[in-house]
Subunit: 413 residues, 2 copies
């Protein structure tokens, strides 16, 4: 992260698009309201938040974890009308996962209550919960929290963006102004997560709002593409959550319609892409105990780049080396080889930052200490070129520090 800047776009790997400017980071696009309250699900602090779009014609898109064990809120949300959501209820203090029928009824009751109070359908309410897996999420405090939050709905997302946090060190949010050919729209998001999974609890969330007018197909497309390039490309500990959730809502309150395959769609897409990638890198940087963010870029054949990049980004040896500012690149080759088809020629090039370390399979440096200065920064890039061509991928990852272990060794209950 670049220190001393007050821009949202702090990663050197993310460029702010030219037609994007920043608003108050807690602001919301037109026609959106939010609030949160302390409902007692956590020992203290905000823990139940509601986000609402006032526009009847709001369209939406959603993405969820692919874990076979999902939380009840994911089950309930998947059954909702995911293209026509108008509200999101999110809580920390309990993931409502693994509590059987009781947990599922709590998720349905949340949708029903919010729908009644907001005068929409239960199927238009997305729900998302984060916290310890396997234990009961108390229903009455949650529903009381929903009631109170809805009474307090206001024009900014400040409390909402705080209520979704668990082990996060800070809020992750922004509100952007996007200049389209026909005028300006707003694009905002509030995220949480201190890892792909935020270990002591669980889950990453991201809630996106825009007052641009989009078709359901367009928000689905933009969400799909930008989530793939952001939250799908990060890891703290390789642990897929039971509860990861992205909800994106577009309500048209700006009066500006964005048609498919136009300059306006391109600009809005670029803005959403930069925004979600920055938030994704913030989640990595906020990984429990994280002190340094790595980026592994892998080039090669389409069937090899992805598993190799994941193996490197999830290797505790690569991650501890990054933590120690240790250029021990043998660990990158070992992790890559673990995920590469055995029996095929494994002749690779490796660069750390812009320095060639391995060329055509042979080490081209004489002393590891030469590489020391390259791995001292807050962000370190590794580029690995495998045999074959046609594909390139990247994964952003946290280092692994003693603090991660301390944090996750503590007694849960």
């Amino acid at each position: 992260m670049r220190a001393g800047t007050d821009t949202f776009f702090t990663s050197r790997w993310i460029e702010r698009p030219e037609h994007v400017s920043e608003l108050d980071p807690a602001a919301l696009p037109l026609g959106f309201k939010a609030a949160a309250v302390a409902a007692g699900l956590k020992p203290d602090g905000l823990d139940v938040g509601v986000l609402f779009s006032e526009e009847a014609e709001t369209v939406s898109a959603a993405r969820f974890t692919t874990n076979a064990r999902v939380g009840a809120p994911v089950v309930a949300s998947r059954e909702a009308d995911l293209g026509r959501l108008r509200a999101v209820v999110a809580n920390s203090g309990g993931s409502n996962t693994g509590d059987g029928e009781r947990g599922l009824h709590t998720a349905y009751a949340t949708q029903a209550l919010a729908a009644e109070l907001l005068e929409i359908e239960p199927a238009q309410v997305g729900v998302a919960s984060t916290g310890v897996i396997g234990m009961e999420l108390p229903r009455e405090p949650l529903l009381n929290g929903v009631r109170s939050a809805i009474e307090r709905l206001g024009d900014d997302a400040d409390t909402f963006s705080r209520a979704i946090l668990t082990s996060d060190r800070d809020v992750k949010r922004t509100c952007l102004n996007v200049a389209l050919p026909g005028g300006e729209v707003r694009l905002a998001a509030q995220a949480k997560g201190a890892g792909m999974i935020s270990p002591r609890y669980a889950t990453m969330f991201c809630f996106v709002q825009t007052d641009a007018e989009l078709s359901q197909e367009t928000i689905e497309l933009l969400t799909g593409v930008t989530v793939k390039r952001s939250f799908d490309r990060i890891t703290v500990d390789g642990q897929l959550s039971t509860s990861d959730t992205v909800f994106a809502l577009a309500n048209g309150a700006s009066g500006l319609r964005v048609e498919p395959e136009t300059e306006a769609e391109l600009r809005l897409g670029e803005a959403m892409d930069a925004m979600l990638r920055q938030l994704a890198i913030e989640i990595v940087g906020d990984g429990e105990g994280c002190t340094r963010v790595g980026r592994i870029v892998v080039r090669g054949r389409s069937d090899t780049v992805e598993p190799v990049a994941r193996a490197i980004a999830n290797s505790p040896l690569v991650k501890t080396a990054l933590h120690g500012a240790d250029p021990n690149f043998g660990r990158i080759l070992q992790a890559a080889g673990m995920a590469y088809p055995p029996g095929e020629g494994f002749v690779v090039d490796l660069e750390i930052e812009d320095r060639q370390v391995v060329s055509a399979g042979a080490t081209v440096i004489d002393d590891l200490r030469e590489l020391g200065p390259l791995v001292q920064g807050d962000e370190v890039q590794y580029t690995l070129t495998l045999p074959g061509e046609g594909a390139e991928t990247e994964v952003f990852f946290s280092d692994l520090s003693p603090e991660y272990v301390h944090f996750n060794s503590e007694y849960t209950s």
Copy 2:
């Protein structure tokens, strides 16, 4: 590990077979010689060892890592006559991995020199190196070490078993007496490894010797079966080494022939199985920073038990919980769900030690603290029953401690 016992079989999960007794742990079977010297590959201490069978009719079997990036010694050993090995040269202080042609020539030169001095064929010499990946292994000191070790060959494996260590806390070796129907044979092994990979360096090794007379097919069969049940079932950090090597040699010096499908083969197999499983658990228990060993048993369909057991054993969240004696079983369900086919019903049972925690998918305990006493021991067992039947597997794994991170964050060079 059971403290205060002087038996080799310290894990409560391994039974010493009835017909097995223990000899001096550094002893060798008849007709085997070993020695090691300090050749300067490491800053200090023994680092080059040679093991030799005096019998011309020795048969052997070998197993190697499946990493696509292997060390030069693995390449050279794979090209050898793996059914007719008579000698093993092993060194610590450098894994000779990723050094291109130069490294390969060093491995070949080692085989050639040992063969010349021992009056055998170069193809009868297995080689194995462990240490930092990617840097040169100095050839002349290594060859000088081979010469000196061969001059010192003697009747025990004490120095040999020390020379192969890297980050290990202690030697891992035994020599057993196995009572067969026709008489007694000896079975010995020397292993190293502080994890599936021993991170700062790399690699697990195990060298097995018996003076029983076996066909090449029999030692191949026994090695294959027992390695699958031992070293293939452990993990410290999920990192497949570039250099894992098992060499098993049988030289017939006892005069006792073991025929296929006899009581003698069964007993020898049971002894080798218990020996390698105990050594494998010792490698886990010696995992860098390890304070506690976990065993996950997974029952279900043949296509799901293995990936689920691995996902649990490699989860840093499960491993930090084990370290902290934290019964946070939600992390086991999350890791299992990550490796289970999405969309299929994930209705499971979970036991910690003998206590039912989840039954038919629902939590059956009220307070996590009830489980605290179950996870305090040196060895903790988890049993997960997935939908479906017909398969069961197990993986032994270390906890993840701050010491692991400290150790692996230090500067390599």
